[in-house]
Symmetry: C2
Subunit: 400 residues, 2 copies
C-alpha cells in the first residue's frame, strides 16, 4: 500500500476541480457559435477586494485545470507530463498539479499574494467542453463535428469565464508552450485588460519541423481504424494505438537528445544480452516509451489531441494579427512581457522567443527575455522550477 | 507524356537487377540457420583479371540493390529516398539508382576503374530473401517467423554471395547510414579481406534518441491491426497506415530542422488562408509528408522495415565485439578507413564518427575523418555528391 503523500511546504493543499457553465455561447474564429460551454477550473489563493491580484495560468497540449496541489480525487495517473510524470521527484500517480512546483505559498506564482486561476482549455477532455462533450443538437458526443478551434477561441472562452467570476483585469497571464501562446494571445485580444504576460518555452508560430511533428501525431490518430472518423465514443473502441504513437513522438520531441542519452543511453532491458525479438522491448528507452503511451491513452481523449494540436499549429501571430509582420501584430500590445526559453528546447527553440523580444523592443514595449541553460529540452518548463522561480518573482514584483 | 530520361555523362546506363541463390544456408547470430537464401544484386564496371578492383556498396534502411544507372524496368516509384526522391534534380520516378550520383564513370566510385557490386540486404524486400519470402518449411511467407537478423548477418550473406562470384578481397566496402555499419562490420568480421572502409553518415551504435525513433516506427507498424502479427501476406490487407507514419517519422529525422524551414516554412496549401480542417493538410509540409508516406508504402514491405530497423538498433560494435569498449572492438581491424559526417545530421551526428576516428587512432590504424558542413541533415549522404566525391576519390587513390 503506498504511503499517503505528505504536503510539501508551500503546497496549496487538496483541491477539487470546479465547473461553470457560461451564460452565452462562444463565437469562434471559424465562424461557428458554440454553446452551451462548460469550463473546468481551479483557483488557488484569495481574490483581493479590488480584484487586482489575478493570475491566469494556461496549460499546454496535454494538461488540464489541475495546475497545483493534490487532487482530492486523484486521477487514474498523475497529471504531470513528460519526464516529470516519471518522477525525478516521485510525484507520479499522486495527483499533483502539472505546475505544482510553480504555484503555491512562496512559489513563483505566490498564492499568498495572488489569486491564481487555471482552466481546462476549450476543446479539452478534462471538464471543459470539447469533442467528447454532448452536442445539444444531436444528443450525442460531437466527435469530429466539433468546430475547429484556435488559440484565440480558447482565450475568448477564458475571457467569458472570468466575466462570470467578476474578474475584469489580469495582473498576469502565464503559461508554457501552448500556454504561452494563450498568454500572448490574451495581450493581443484584450490589451487593456492584461498587465503582464509570462510566456515560457513558447513561440509566436511553430517552425516547420514542429508543424511536421504535430501533423504526424494527428495522422497517427486518424489512421487508426478505431478512430472511426472521430465518432468512436460509445463504440467500445478508441484510437489508443494511434494516439499512443502520437504520444511517443511528442514525448521524444519534448526531451533533448542528450537528456535521453544521459538517462537511458543504450541500456538493455536484460543486462546480459539481446534476445533477438522484434515485438518485445530490448532497450530501456523502448519500454519507457511504451509505458508513456499506455498511461497517456488512459487519461486523454484522442479527439482533444487532434483539435488542440491543430490549434497550436495554426497559431501564428504575424499571420493572424500582423498581415505577415510580427511587429505589426504586437502594435497594440500593452502588457509587460517576460519570456523564458531553454537552451536545449528544440521544439520551441530560444530563437522564437528572441523574435518576440526583438519585435516588442522595436515597438518600445517593456520586455524581458531569459535563456536558461538546462538540458531537458521542452519539458524544462515543467522541470526547472528552481531556476524559473526567482526570474518570475522579480518580474511580477515589478509589475504590481 | 514524360520525356524519356537522357543519360547523364558518367552514367552506368541501363541495368537490370540480377538474382543469385546461395549454395549453402547462412548461419545467423540468433543461432538459427537460414536457407536457401537468394541475393538480388547489380554490378557496374568490369572485374579486373586479378579480381582486385571490387568495391561493395551497402544500402541504408529503405534502399535496394539498384544503386546506380536507370532500372531497365523502372520500379513503381523512384528508388532514391528522402529529400532526394522529391528531386532537387528531378529524378524521381525515373528509376535512377539511389547512389547514382556517386557510382559511374569518373564518379566517386569510378566504374572505369572499379567493379562496383551492390546487393539488397538480407531481410530485404527487393529480391533478397526476407520476411516476405516463402519459408520452404511451410510453403507460405515467413512473416514474423523470419529470424531476427543483425548487421553481421547481412555481411555474412554478402560474404557468401561474393564467394559465388569468386571474389575474395574487397578494395573497399562503402555505404551511408546502415550501409556504413555494414562496411565497418566487414572490416571486423573479415579483417584480412577488406582494404578500405568508407563509412558515411554512420555510427558504431545509435544514440538513445535514434533507438527511440526506431522503436516508435516499429511500434507504429505493429500497432496497425492490418499487421496481423506479421502474417498479412495474401490477406489483402497490409499495415500501410502504420508504416506510413513510420516513414513520416523517419523522414523528418533524416532532414534538419533548418532545411525543413528553408523549404516549407509555414507555407499554407491555399495561400489565401486556413480552412479550419482537422483531416485535410493545411500546410505544405503536411501534404508533403502524406505524399512521402503514400509513395513509400507502395514500394516497401512493412516486415522488412521492422527487421531492418531492429538490426540497425542492435548494431553496437563495442557491445558485440569489444566487451563494451569500442577500441577493443576495433583491435583486429586492418582496413584503411574514411569517415564522412555532416554537420546538420542529428540522427547520425558527427560525434559518432569522431568516436570511431579516436578509437582507430588510439590503435594506430589509418583513418581519415571529414565533417562536411551541409544543411540537409542525414539525407546529405544521398545529396551532397559533389562535396563527397573528391574526398572519396583521393582516399581510394591512396588505397590502391
Amino acid at each position: 500500500m503506498p504511503t499517503p503523500p505528505t504536503l510539501a511546504a508551500g503546497s496549496v493543499g487538496s483541491v477539487d476541480t470546479q465547473y461553470l457553465d457560461l451564460p452565452e455561447s462562444v463565437r469562434l474564429d471559424c465562424g461557428r457559435e458554440l454553446g452551451p460551454v462548460r469550463v473546468a477550473y481551479e483557483t488557488y489563493g484569495t481574490l483581493s477586494a479590488l480584484r487586482d491580484n489575478v493570475i491566469l495560468v494556461c496549460h499546454a497540449l496535454s494538461g488540464d485545470a489541475h495546475a497545483a496541489g493534490f487532487a482530492k480525487t486523484p486521477p487514474e495517473s498523475g497529471t504531470r507530463d513528460g519526464f516529470a510524470a516519471e518522477g525525478r521527484d516521485g510525484t507520479a500517480g499522486k495527483g499533483l498539479g502539472w505546475w505544482d512546483g510553480m504555484i503555491g505559498p512562496g512559489k513563483a506564482f505566490d498564492t499568498d499574494r495572488y489569486f491564481v486561476v487555471s482552466t481546462n482549455i476549450l476543446g479539452g477532455c478534462r471538464g471543459t467542453t470539447g469533442p467528447s462533450s454532448i452536442d445539444p443538437a444531436t444528443g450525442a458526443p460531437f466527435g469530429a463535428s466539433f468546430p475547429v478551434i484556435t488559440v484565440a477561441d480558447m482565450v475568448r472562452t477564458q475571457r467569458a469565464f472570468l466575466d462570470v467570476l467578476g474578474i475584469e483585469r489580469l495582473a498576469a497571464v502565464a503559461g508554457g508552450s501552448l500556454g504561452g501562446m494563450q498568454a500572448m494571445q490574451w495581450a493581443i485580444l484584450y490589451p487593456d485588460q492584461v498587465d503582464a504576460v509570462v510566456a515560457i518555452a513558447s513561440t509566436h508560430a511553430l517552425h516547420a519541423q514542429g508543424v511536421a511533428w504535430n501533423s504526424i501525431a494527428r495522422d497517427s490518430i486518424m489512421r487508426d481504424p478505431a478512430w472511426q472518423e472521430g465518432q468512436y465514443y460509445g463504440t467500445g473502441r478508441a484510437p489508443d494505438a494511434g494516439m499512443g504513437v502520437a504520444r511517443m513522438v511528442g514525448h521524444i520531441t519534448y526531451l533533448s537528445g542528450p537528456a535521453l542519452t544521459d538517462r537511458f543511453g543504450r541500456k538493455l532491458q536484460f543486462a546480459d544480452d539481446i534476445r533477438y525479438t522484434i515485438t518485445e522491448p530490448e532497450f530501456e528507452v523502448e519500454s519507457y516509451l511504451r509505458h508513456q503511451a499506455e498511461s497517456f491513452v488512459k487519461r486523454f481523449d484522442a479527439n482533444t489531441y487532434l483539435y488542440t494540436s491543430r490549434a497550436l499549429t495554426y497559431f501564428d501571430l504575424a499571420r493572424e494579427h500582423g498581415n505577415g509582420s510580427l511587429t505589426r501584430a504586437l502594435e497594440n500590445y500593452a502588457a509587460r512581457t517576460l519570456l523564458i526559453a531553454f537552451s536545449s528546447d528544440w521544439l520551441y527553440p530560444p530563437q522564437a522567443s528572441a523574435d518576440i523580444e526583438e519585435a516588442l523592443r522595436a515597438l518600445g514595449k517593456p520586455v524581458e527575455y531569459h535563456i536558461i541553460d538546462a538540458p531537458y529540452g521542452h519539458d524544462c518548463f515543467l522541470l526547472e522550477e528552481a531556476r524559473q522561480t526567482p526570474i518570475i518573482q522579480r518580474f511580477l514584483q515589478r509589475t504590481l
